[in-house]
């Protein structure tokens, strides 16, 4: 045999072994019962020598059950809210400038800011002077009033940013649940599509994703002794040399936290802690709520004890002033950075930028509350509560608590920046498309799909042997390898197997032998013309090579278009089709040729085709 032949055989053997090796995690994945597949059980069952356990074939929504949601971001309402807020600001702004304003509100349709006052011309000039980059003053306002509207470009930017932010927020939330293989994409018409395979509770998904989740800034009421009253009712938290020791009692427990007060003092403030959020909520309702004043509120935050991987989380209270001083709507940008100032010691911090209006409000708030703690509350949970060290205006900085490793702190800073930037849904969302597949349907479809695929495969294999005999058998060996390769590639790239995907898989098996039909027919033709077996085989492969390439490219281009168009199961079909066609180019040309060459290596060779 020629030298090149040995190389080709080595390549084929390599690809086969590699495919088998890559399918090891999938083998273990599917040998577990469906309800244990996505847990620690599975990771444990995969042997150490196998590839990354995460690289296994995934079942799509339709096969393992789950939920697909499309959420429409209500951008029009977000715009209306922005107009209404701007009306308030303009009112305040004009009063600060010393102008008389009799009313500051929105026009009846809610699309414009409407300001009433005696000197409308002066009002218009002052407002446009300050807000001119974003707003204009269209005519048509009733007598004694001026209208201000956002420029179309501002509105458009605002809308697209709202959808972008909503997508980030949703992604952020889904990531927190640890759903395997979530798929979140933005679509036209302010739509966001979310797929959560294996997610059992659609109601919960809708509730968690649909919540607007306002980000709020509140000032901590550390001077109040209101919570000291719980000491007689709850047990003290178990501790070890001043450090809390978990587990905490189920009823919740109390402990003290040393807080600094503005002006230099410090005191021990009582707080309640519990291992689970619901336990803490129960304790707050029962013991703490009766103790606090109407203008106070109890915030819940998460904290941890210990270091490294053995850190234990628990929930704790913060006593806050109930008033929401500022909302996250005013944050223009936030990111993680290192504090390079002389006192900063290069620690990771969160840097944020407020919008112009926000900067004004933030300055007012922080200068009035220097030395107090300001809680950042997201989704009803206190994320951080740092001390206000100095006046914050447009650019603020949040210092993180306890000293830990740089990596860890930087990660936390990035997380907080993300929450600040994308924490709140900028506009309410509504669900415009929902597909829920129950868990009982999936296994049945998997069974039917596999049976159908096997039958289709078998028929193709038998046909090839019956019609082309030895040559057919060679094509069948290649076909088997093709199936193996497709599954392995799907496992590697992490694409999901859907019911249409199974159909696509079967279809590509049928298409894969097309190439061999073309080759074998050509060989017959050359033999008929009186050529030797060896010549005929060479000619057969050479002459139809480009035909095979052409036919694959055309089908592939349809597949690529489909992949960009379809969603969910249909996309799964397109992906399988593309992978199948790519694999079949290799198996039906390279693999069959190598085997064919081996059997026809002598000039006297005979071939049944």
């Amino acid at each position: 045999m020629e030298r090149a032949w040995y190389w080709r055989v080595a390549l084929i053997a390599g690809v086969t072994l590699f495919s088998l090796y890559e399918l090891v995690p999938s083998w273990y994945y599917f040998s577990l019962p469906p309800d244990q597949r996505n847990g620690a059980e599975y990771e444990k069952s995969v042997p150490r020598w196998a590839p990354d356990p995460n690289r296994h074939l995934n079942l799509g929504l339709d096969l393992q059950g789950g939920i697909l949601l499309s959420m429409g971001v209500d951008v029009d309402r977000a715009v209306k809210a922005k107009v209404a807020r701007r009306a308030d600001e303009i009112g305040d702004f004009l009063k600060e400038k010393g102008l008389t304003v009799t009313a500051a509100g929105t026009s009846p349709d809610g699309a414009r800011v409407e300001i009433r006052g005696p000197d409308t011309a002066k009002i218009a000039d002052t407002v446009l002077d300050h807000y001119g980059s974003e707003m204009n003053a269209p005519g048509g306002a009733p007598a004694g009033a001026v209208w201000f509207g956002f420029k179309p470009k501002t509105i458009q930017d605002f809308k697209s940013k709202a959808v972008e932010q909503a997508e980030k927020t949703i992604r952020n939330r889904v990531d927190k649940w640890g759903v395997t293989e979530p798929d979140i994409k933005r679509k036209a018409n302010s739509q966001i599509q979310i797929q959560l395979p294996g997610f059992k509770d659609p109601e919960k998904a809708k509730e968690l994703l649909g919540r607007t989740a306002q980000l709020e800034f509140k000032i901590a009421d550390d001077a109040s002794t209101a919570l000291d009253g719980v000491r007689g009712k709850l047990p003290p938290c178990p501790g070890d040399e001043g450090l809390m020791k978990l587990p905490l009692p189920d009823t919740g427990c109390w402990t003290v936290e040393r807080v600094e007060l503005p002006g230099g003092g410090a005191r021990e403030e009582t707080m309640i802690a519990a291992t689970r959020r619901d336990q803490l909520e129960a304790a707050i309702d029962k013991y703490a709520k009766p103790l606090i004043a109407p203008d106070q509120e109890i915030g819940i935050g998460e904290s941890s004890v210990g270091t490294g991987p053995v850190r234990d989380r628990y929930y704790r209270t913060y006593l806050l002033h109930a008033k929401t001083e500022l909302t996250g709507d005013y944050i223009a940008d936030a990111r993680a950075a290192t504090d390079t100032s002389s006192t900063g010691m290069n620690r990771p911090v969160v840097v944020f930028t407020m919008s112009p209006e926000g900067a004004r409000l933030m300055e007012k708030l922080t200068s009035a509350n220097l030395g107090r703690r300001m809680a950042t509350v997201l989704d009803g949970k206190v994320e951080t509560a740092p001390y206000i060290q100095g006046k914050i205006a447009a650019n603020g900085q949040i210092t993180l608590g306890q000293q830990r490793g740089f990596q860890e702190m930087f990660q936390e800073a990035s997380d907080i920046a993300l929450v600040l930037k994308a924490g709140a849904l900028p506009a309410p969302v509504t669900i415009s498309e929902e597909r829920t597949v129950g868990a009982t349907l999936g296994p049945e479809l998997v069974k039917k799909g596999t049976t159908a695929a096997l039958l289709g495969f078998l028929l193709v294999v038998l046909f090839m042997i019956a019609y082309y005999r030895a040559s057919g058998l060679i094509a069948d060996v290649a076909l088997l390898l093709n199936g193996l390769l497709v599954l392995a590639i799907m496992a590697i790239v992490g694409s999901t197997l859907t019911l249409p995907g199974i159909a696509g898989f079967v279809l590509t098996l049928g298409m894969a032998v097309d190439a061999n039909v073309l080759i074998n027919e050509r060989i017959r033709e050359e033999l008929r013309a009186g050529k030797t077996v060896k010549q005929s085989v060479d000619q057969g492969y050479d002459k139809v090579f480009w035909t095979i390439v052409d036919s694959h490219v055309t089908t592939l281009s349809a597949g690529v278009v489909l992949m960009n168009y379809g969603s969910g199961p249909v996309r799964g079909f397109a992906v399988t089709l593309i992978i199948g066609l790519a694999a079949s180019m290799f198996t039906s040309i390279v693999v069959t040729r190598a085997i064919m060459d081996f059997f026809t290596r002598r000039d006297t060779a005979r071939l049944s085709v």
Binding site: A84, N189, K448, A453, G456, L459, P500, E521, V553, V561
Partner: protein, 388 residues
């Protein structure tokens, strides 16, 4: 020794494809027109699935056999006049697909009643907003005194609408408060009704899909565009690889196959949905394969038999590769048999439509694509003669 083989289509067949092209074209034209006319909304129309029409679709499995007519009547009694119920999968599965055209259970009347009941107790600002295209959700805004979520819920329930959740949202402006009231929807109503009516048959809702009409329209437009885009790409590729003289033939053959496959959905009344678009796209990509084989052979024969008339070369070429164009389609069709036997619902439709597309693809290669090239050549030659 002479080589012998068994061929389904004996080699050396000389069928006059080019000569039959007028009959074939007339036949195809009639079939295509029939499909298009039939699919017109005012003639018969298509059976759009929820993907494209919007609405709610539920797959319900019963423990025992149930008459689908009885299910439809009971769904209609709930107020869904346009409800359709069809058997899904084999009879023995007792699975049914229930479809209603709406996605929101609430109607304008109910929203008005609810608004009246709420405004009697609390100061509503403006009219509550409700969009039947978005689902069972009413947004209220209050000025000054605001209800608690529990109060709002009890007032609305007293007005006769079951509330699933009341959610407080940030107000549009300072001093106002917004609440989103989410009420129980179609799925809940149908499910509860079926469960009480067919308690003995143990209905189980296995799958629910709902698509807003706006989303449906968009999916439909995008699907149409995707098919055109795929055709465009293929025609361009074939043009570059062969000769743009072949392009019109390819375009006509592609359109023909797409329309015939589409015809399967139009004439059988099978649901036309996202998967149907996937089939048409696949047919478009696959059916051109045979055409490529023939064109390749035409090119080869043009080199071999210079001086022969194009019509003869085309005829010869089609006959040369008759066996393989048939066998490739046959092998692919074979792989679909399993899906046709075990496939349920959408997947069965997929396989059947694909089969139709494959057959149509082979037919159009033989009778339309290649002979069309001659027709165009002849026209060009005539025009040239007239000009000279």
């Amino acid at each position: 020794m002479r080589f012998k083989s068994f061929d389904v289509i004996p080699h050396g067949t000389t069928f006059d494809f080019v000569g039959k092209r007028h009959i074939a074209v007339a036949l195809s034209l009639a079939a295509n027109l029939a499909v298009i006319v039939w699919a017109m909304p005012f003639v018969h129309g298509l059976n759009f699935g929820v993907d494209f029409a919007g609405g709610t679709e539920m797959e319900v499995k019963f423990g025992k056999q149930v008459d689908p007519g009885v299910i439809r009547r009971s769904v209609e009694e709930l107020g869904f006049k346009d409800a359709s119920v069809q058997t899904y999968g084999p009879e023995a599965d007792n699975s049914y697909l229930i479809r209603v055209g709406r996605i929101a259970l609430l109607g304008a009347d109910e929203v008005a009643t609810v608004a009246k009941a709420v405004s009697a107790k609390f100061p509503i600002q403006g009219a509550p907003s409700f969009n039947p295209e978005l689902g069972d959700k009413i947004d209220f805004q209050f000025q000054g005194v605001q209800p608690t979520t529990a109060e709002l819920k009890s007032v609305i329930e007293a007005a006769g609408v079951r509330v699933r959740e009341v959610r407080e949202e940030a107000g549009l402006a300072a001093g106002t408060h917004s609440f989103a009231v989410i009420t129980y929807g179609i799925q809940d109503k149908v499910e509860r009704d079926l469960q009480s009516r067919f308690a003995a048959e143990k209905p189980e809702v296995r799958r629910v899909e709902y698509v807003g009409p706006a989303v449906g329209r968009e999916l439909r437009n995008q699907g149409f565009k995707a098919i055109l885009l795929a055709m465009g790409l293929i025609v361009l590729y074939v043009g570059v690889r062969f000769d743009f003289r072949f392009s019109p033939g390819v375009i006509i053959a592609l359109l023909h196959d797409a329309v015939i496959t589409f015809g399967f959905f139009a004439f059988t009344g099978r649901e036309f949905n996202l998967t149907s678009v996937a089939v048409i796209l696949t047919v478009v990509g696959y059916s051109v394969n045979d055409t490529v084989v023939v064109y390749d052979r035409i090119r080869e024969n043009q080199g071999k038999f210079q001086g022969k008339r194009l019509a003869e070369i085309v005829n010869l070429s089609i006959n040369d590769v008759l066996g393989r164009t048939f066998l490739t389609s046959f092998a692919t069709a074979l792989s679909l048999i399993g899906l046709l036997i075990f496939g349920v619902g959408t997947i069965w439709d997929f396989s059947m439509a694909m089969l139709v597309g494959i057959v149509s693809g082979t037919y159009s290669t033989w009778f339309i694509a290649a002979p069309m090239t001659i027709w165009l050549e002849e026209r060009a030659a005539k025009a040239k003669a007239r000009a000279a």
